[in-house]
């Protein structure tokens, strides 16, 4: 779409211009989502800690979880262990057994990762379901508005040019080198961004809600097909956990990319909507730049 003839080809000093990158609704729903997901992850670990083991199928097979965390005795002291299948890992201080010196206790995830930090399943559930509502309402708002205003179609859906293997490979290589699109190319999401954002917004986050609802005995009566889709309530609990882990993975990668590609510019664009790009031609009037981003 854009010829590579941008900044480097011109002798003129590149000029920074602010382009309008994120609409108000995108920015608002982004930050509400940050809030909701943070509380959901931490209260979710609190709930997980009530029974730190995962199974596959309709029911729990207590002596055969595929993953479990707990305390064990090793010589004269207690250690934390995480068992995955037949593999046993020593995870003292983080998983299975953790806490300040002298106050260690058997628990799945450590106190700093859970909400509340103490063992309190009842409160953990209350936090979880409150923010689950915020998450769902916020997510639906994002979806509906983004479908109507064309955000998904125009900004997130990959173009045919985006999907050419050569382009995808080019993006992977340049991202790996932490060299990000500049100038005209930075006006649009690149194919890796589009893919990541679409996968998270349209697949992973809805997956959290669907697997969460599959664990509800009430909702099971209304939508028993969800049990069949995910292979049972215990499978749904496993998939809820795996999806949440992928969400954490996305957040870490996303934050790393934000820092690598210009922390302040990215944060500003998600607060005020304005994103600075370098354009070769100082003659471009700002009015033309604004709005062109989307």
């Amino acid at each position: 779409m854009n010829s590579p003839m941008t900044t480097q080809d011109r002798a003129a000093k590149p000029k920074k211009v602010l382009v309008y990158r994120h609409r108000g609704v995108t920015r608002l729903t982004h930050w509400l989502n940050v809030l909701a997901v943070t509380f959901l992850l931490m209260s979710g670990l609190e709930i997980f800690n009530a029974h730190p083991a995962l199974y596959w199928g309709q029911k729990a097979t207590f002596d055969q979880p595929w993953i479990s965390m707990g305390a064990a005795q090793k010589a004269d002291h207690t250690i934390g262990v995480t068992r995955i299948g037949s593999l046993t890992l020593e995870t003292t201080g983080v998983l299975g057994y953790s806490g300040p010196p002298g106050m260690q206790e058997e628990r799945g995830f450590p106190a700093w990762a859970t909400l509340p930090s103490s063992r309190d399943l009842a409160d953990g559930r209350r936090w979880h379901f409150f923010f689950a509502w915020l998450f769902v309402i916020n997510g639906l708002t994002y979806w509906i508005v983004s479908l109507i205003n064309g955000h998904i179609r125009k900004d997130l859906a990959p173009t045919i040019a985006d999907l050419k293997p050569k382009n995808v490979w080019h993006e992977i290589v340049t991202h790996a080198k932490l060299r990000f699109p500049k100038g005209e190319e930075a006006r649009h999401y690149n194919v890796l961004q589009k893919g990541a954002y679409l996968a998270v917004a349209l697949v992973l986050l809805p997956m959290m809600v669907a697997t969460g609802l599959t664990m509800s005995p009430g909702f099971n009566a209304a939508a028993p097909w969800l049990l069949d889709l995910f292979g049972g309530r215990q499978s749904a609990r496993t998939l809820h956990f795996i999806s949440a882990s992928l969400v954490v993975g996305f957040i870490l990668l996303h934050l790393a990319m934000v820092v690598a590609s210009g922390t302040w510019n990215n944060i500003r664009s998600m607060i005020t909507g304005r994103y600075a790009i370098e354009v070769p031609d100082p003659a471009v009037p700002p009015s033309q730049v604004l709005g062109a981003a989307e």
């Binding site: 009530a50 399943l121 409160d123 379901f129 005995p217 909702f219």
Partner: protein, 258 residues
């Protein structure tokens, strides 16, 4: 010292301090009773929306005999020490009477034989503990709806309270006695039964002998064991600590459909 290291050190320190402040903030808000009280309000929304989208008579999934858990994990009280309960157990529940009273036209006191003679239902269902695990069992019991009709609910009856034979927590005021409550939607649901059999055998003590409630579209703590008495009430705020159940009095949701 080269500059990048300093900068990296500064960045690490800043991120670390922000992280620690964030976690401390989370911890503080997580313990704040006002904040917890605020987020608790979502329960009403969950209950209303679930009642709206779930048909009143929609059945919980029923399974096949092959799905039954080899051991139906007992939880909570597994062998009540309450003298009254022990006395019943010693006599094989021969003198046991299920009391049905409160806002009813005809209070009842039914022997186990009379309960077994009531319209019954057998179902293989999944039991979901609030902790996260599930077990599948085959239950046979008296349907609660016809039993309540036999007693005749008064017009102002809104909830059925189940008083149990077990003390789960020793307290001075007796609030450690297990009890539960459900509304009339669940009470008249076709799968709501007072079970006297588990997996074709007489209900074991660990699973709630002689009678345990099955209210299949809610979590495990609603499935009251050792049921001694049913009371039809208009409101349960005067009972025990006023939240409608043992675990509800300890912070858990009254509506346990999720």
């Amino acid at each position: 010292m080269s500059e990048p290291i300093n900068r990296r050190g500064w960045l690490t320190a800043t991120v670390g301090a922000m992280g620690a402040a964030f976690l401390a903030g989370c911890d503080k808000i997580g313990q704040d009773p006002k904040a917890v009280n605020f987020v608790s309000k979502a329960e009403g929304l969950t209950r209303r929306v679930q009642r709206l989208v779930i048909d009143r008579k929609a059945l919980a999934r029923e399974f096949t005999p092959a799905d039954i858990s080899p051991v139906f994990k007992p939880n909570g009280s597994i062998s009540p020490a309450d003298p009254e309960y022990r006395a019943h157990l010693l006599k094989g529940f021969a003198d046991y009477r299920l009391v049905v009273d409160g806002l009813v036209e005809r209070p009842l006191a039914l022997s186990l034989a009379e309960v077994r003679a009531l319209p019954s239902r057998t179902q293989i269902t999944r039991h979901d503990c609030v902790e996260g695990w599930s077990a599948i069992g085959k239950w046979t019991g008296a349907r609660l709806g016809p039993l309540l009709d036999k007693a005749g609910l008064k017009k102002n009856a809104r909830y059925i309270v189940f008083y149990c034979g077990d003390t789960l927590e020793e307290t001075l005021d007796g609030s450690g006695q297990y009890y539960e409550s459900i509304d009339l939607i669940d009470a008249y649901h076709p799968q709501t039964i007072l079970a006297y059999q588990l997996n074709d055998k007489v209900l074991p003590v660990s699973n709630g002998a002689p009678l345990r409630l099955r209210v299949e579209r809610q979590l495990g703590y609603k499935q009251a064991k050792y049921v001694m008495r049913l009371e039809a009430v208009e409101d349960f705020s005067h009972i025990s600590r006023g939240n409608g159940g043992f675990w509800e009095d300890r912070g858990y949701e009254w509506y346990a459909g999720i």
